[in-house]
């Protein structure tokens, strides 16, 4: 087991190297002078030269890559071209909002999708099942920002139950913070909920056809025990997998949701950085998000052992 864990973690290294190459390459494969691209359309030649100097763009390309990776490994992500602050400082400022939003979204999505999927599978071909499937297709199809604006219109502007936009920091108290994130996490969570509910329904349905479920019923176990202890646990592997894969969607959604609801998180930082062509920030944020995705999927792989003892590494 320990051997497998080490192997699995080592296997993420090539993936992250490729990610780093892509992120690094983004600036260099695009036609034109990278320094001029970062400086923008109205920069003087001196500005361009200054940026080139600052980012070390005069060095040969492999040296640039080496220096960049080396400083990344030391936790140094460079300095923002736009605000002149260290990138780590900018990210530190923004982490809280994104973290809170993601946690709340995942909690809401799991609390909604798992019961919905299990119920739909159990009562298959009934009203609940139809509802689940319609919700799943709708959740896939309606873009995050459309859902966000609809929720905002109904619950914030018309009913005035919740704040329209903005974020309250945890320092202002837990409840105001959560209150400011309810609509964003509902909007962000819809796609994720739809995804998980759909897979849960499919895999629970398959498990419910197994003999041991019939045995459990014959033993006279109540349906809640059967559904949770027998069906859901045995259906867990594909569900956990999709939870991991769905993190990619969630990260993409964070970027959009934070823009819609004006939340000062990493997603907004990214969009602002991209619009300002603040390259050190763009690189850092993409690396961080990709790293989180890879890490979560390692955890998902390792969790298989817990859900299915037949899987041994």
């Amino acid at each position: 087991m320990t051997g497998y864990i080490i192997k699995r973690i080592l296997a993420t290294i090539p993936v992250m190297v490729i990610v780093a190459l892509f992120v690094f390459g983004l600036l260099h494969i695009t036609p034109g002078d990278p320094a001029a691209i970062i400086a923008g359309d109205y920069a003087s030649p001196a500005d361009v030269e200054a940026i080139r100097e600052k980012l070390g763009l005069n060095e040969p390309i492999h040296i640039q890559f080496y220096t960049w990776v080396k400083s990344l490994a030391n936790g140094d992500m460079g300095v923002s071209v736009f605000s002149n602050l260290p990138v780590t400082h900018l990210i530190g400022q923004r982490v809280e909002a994104t973290l809170m939003l993601s946690i709340l979204t995942i909690i809401i999505a799991l609390m909604a999708s798992l019961p919905l999927g299990v119920l739909a599978a159990w009562k298959s071909r009934t009203f609940i099942d139809r509802f689940c499937m319609i919700f799943a297709v709708l959740g896939f199809s309606v873009p995050v920002f459309v859902i966000g604006y609809i929720l905002m219109y109904v619950f914030a502007i018309q009913l005035k139950w919740l704040p329209v936009q903005g974020y309250k920091y945890l320092a202002d108290g837990l409840w105001p913070c959560i209150r400011s994130l309810i609509l964003p996490s509902l909007a962000l969570g819809t796609l994720y909920t739809a995804l998980i509910a759909r897979i849960t329904r499919a895999s629970v349905m398959e498990v419910l056809a197994e003999d041991y479920i019939r045995t459990a019923k014959a033993k006279g176990l109540n349906s809640r025990t059967i559904l949770i202890r027998h069906a859901l646990k045995n259906a867990a592997v594909p569900i956990v997998t999709i939870i991991g894969v769905g993190i990619a969607l969630l990260i993409g959604g964070v970027v959009v949701t934070e823009s819609v609801f004006n939340i000062p998180g990493l997603g907004r930082l990214t969009v602002d950085a991209i619009l300002h062509r603040d390259y050190p920030v763009i690189q850092a944020v993409i690396i961080i998000f990709s790293g989180i995705y890879v890490l979560i999927n390692v955890l998902v792989d390792l969790s298989y052992v817990f859900f299915d003892p037949r899987i041994r590494y």
């Binding site: 090539p14 993936v15 992250m16 190297v17 490729i18 990610v19 190459l21 892509f22 992120v23 983004l26 600036l27 695009t30 036609p31 691209i37 297709v137 709708l138 896939f140 199809s141 309606v142 873009p143 995050v144 920002f145 459309v146 604006y149 609809i150 905002m152 219109y153 502007i157 329209v164 995804l195 759909r198 897979i199 499919a202 895999s203 398959e206 594909p238 990619a248 990260i251 993409g252 970027v255 959009v256 823009s259 819609v260 990214t270 969009v271 991209i274 619009l275 062509r277 763009i282 944020v285 993409i286 998000f289 990709s290 995705y293 890879v294």
Partner: protein, 298 residues
């Protein structure tokens, strides 16, 4: 499938064939209502996109005295902050969404198919390609796309490139998985034994097996490409703002959203309907073409 058989059985008589096709089509429509309904809706959208100039007025025309007007008889969807007719812009926006969706679906399937075939069949290519694909998949596609567009510059063409690239790994994985299972089939072994060359094996024996799942996947890609285009435009790193696209309309309308909600509502609803239709078509195709892949595809 029934259609093909009936055509083959009655090939000599043209008239009979015509009737059979008609009957076969009716039979297909009866069995697959979702495919029929969703493809009719899409056909309608195509017609709207193609005949946009006949349906709506000029989307660029300004009515400065009619700025931010709610929906009325003159302007069905109201007017935006520059006094442009929102209905005309919505109708023309269909063009952008449909063409981006279609081209991305075709391009990413094309590239993905080629790479996937080679990776699935040639071991050496496989190791390298799949590591690259893993890396590419680890980068959230929205981030990748906005970064690429902001560096390449905003244009419809660059938006298409930026959406296509992150979709390719999904196709590659699908195709590769199919190739890996098909290459062990006896008829492939027989082909190898009888001296068929590598291109022949790939094209004649393996390629046809990928079509059905690929078509389904391409449909889903089309749906997510439509969403991504709108998201990119919404975030300000997509289709240039002067081009009427649904994402741009929503981006421009968001400032006035609290009081002029129709500016976002109409393009938002159109966007949702289009993606919904494409996804339902995908589900329908999946169930029709290959019931085996009906589960856990996405």
């Amino acid at each position: 499938m029934a259609t093909v058989n009936t055509i083959a059985a009655s090939a000599p008589q043209d008239q009979v064939v015509g009737q059979d096709i008609k009957r076969g089509f009716k039979e297909f429509a009866r069995r697959n209502p979702t495919v029929m309904i969703s493809s009719s809706v899409l056909l309608f959208m195509f017609i709207v996109a193609i005949f946009a100039p006949f349906i709506a007025t000029d989307p660029m025309e300004l009515y400065p005295w009619d700025r931010l007007k709610p929906p009325s008889g003159d302007h069905w969807f109201g007017t935006d902050h520059l006094g442009r007719d929102a209905f005309a812009r919505t109708v023309y926006g269909t063009r952008i969404s449909l063409s981006v969706g279609l081209i991305v679906a075709l391009a990413s399937s094309g590239f993905g198919l080629t790479i996937g075939l080679l990776a699935g069949y040639i071991r050496m290519v496989d190791t390298i390609v799949m590591r690259v694909m893993d890396g590419l998949m680890a980068i959230p596609s929205i981030l990748f796309a906005i970064a690429l567009v902001s560096l390449l510059g905003g244009s419809v063409q660059n938006v298409i490139i930026a959406i296509t690239v992150p979709e390719i790994p999904r196709v590659v994985r699908l195709v590769r998985a199919i190739v890996l299972s098909i290459r062990e089939m006896p008829y492939v072994e027989a082909a190898i034994a009888s001296g068929t060359r590598l291109p022949g094996i790939l094209i004649k024996h393996i390629l046809p097996n990928t079509f059905a799942p690929l078509m389904v996947q391409a449909t889903y890609i089309c749906g997510s490409a439509v969403i991504l285009e709108a998201l990119l435009s919404f975030l300000g790193a997509g289709t240039p703002p002067e081009i009427p696209s649904w994402g741009n309309m929503i981006a421009e309308g968001r400032v006035y959203f609290q009081f002029k909600s129709w500016l976002i509502l109409f393009p938002g609803i159109c966007l949702a309907i289009m993606v919904l239709t494409v996804n339902i078509l995908g589900d329908g195709l999946r169930d029709t073409l290959d019931p085996r892949i009906a589960r856990g595809m996405r």
